[in-house]
Symmetry: C2
Subunit: 116 residues, 2 copies
DNA sequence: CCGTATCCCCGGGGATACTG
DNA sequence: CAGTATCCCCGGGGATACGG
């Protein structure tokens, strides 16, 4: 319950958490990752309808950032009209544990705030 | 490596992760929590100087939100002039594992992006 | 179908000054 | 010391239309 192991590389660790948050804290990032993860492979328009409220502009932008960060892989299918598939990379899948823990904590947090 | 366990309560879990992110993804939240956690108890002006770039307005705002979410406890000391101590609550401390994992992932992520 | 381009508005958040 | 108040600017992000 104490934070003694933070003592040594305090600053460096703070930068590392911040790096993670920079990647994940985009407005729709987690939802997009969840959607793709759940269906394994998912098309642009499918993700668009999975996530309530997102615009095509934002989806496009967020997908681009996730791809830049090597969390997802984009594949253009040679169909007519064009189809694009998104899937998680190995690196993207390495987030699974963290997402699950954030899920559990979110549930506990809701209980804590709403008063059990 | 698959995401089968997401199948059942997909929507509910997505909302839960989002709840967590809503609490944590504020611009300075993680830094503030880390600072307080590292020193166990910390004063307003100390946190202000711990975190490079934050303004007193933002610090005040973020602290208020963290307190509302019961992650930190605010204590006014009866000194002259007034001193205020911030510390993590039990609930706030329950984030420690997640923060540590985000730290580890951040380091791995940097390696992934910069190319080992 | 999968995006990009454009327009436009609102609020996040910095700088600074002020109060108890 | 620990904030609040005010001013002000810039860019995040929505709506809509267009292009390959």
């Amino acid at each position: 319950m104490e934070c003694k192991n933070f003592e040594q590389n305090y600053k460096k660790e703070m930068r590392a958490v911040q790096d993670s948050m920079d990647v994940l804290s985009g407005k729709w990032k987690i939802s997009i990752l969840s959607s793709i993860c759940f269906y394994s492979k998912r098309r642009f328009s499918d993700i668009l309808s999975d996530i309530e409220g997102i615009s095509n502009k934002m989806l496009s932008k967020e997908l681009k950032e996730l791809e830049l960060n090597k969390l997802i892989k984009r594949t253009v299918m040679d169909t007519q009209p064009v189809t694009v598939l998104y899937e998680l990379t190995k690196h993207g899948l390495s987030l699974k544990t963290i997402i699950e823990e954030l899920t559990d904590w979110g549930i506990r947090h809701r209980k804590e705030i709403t008063g059990r």
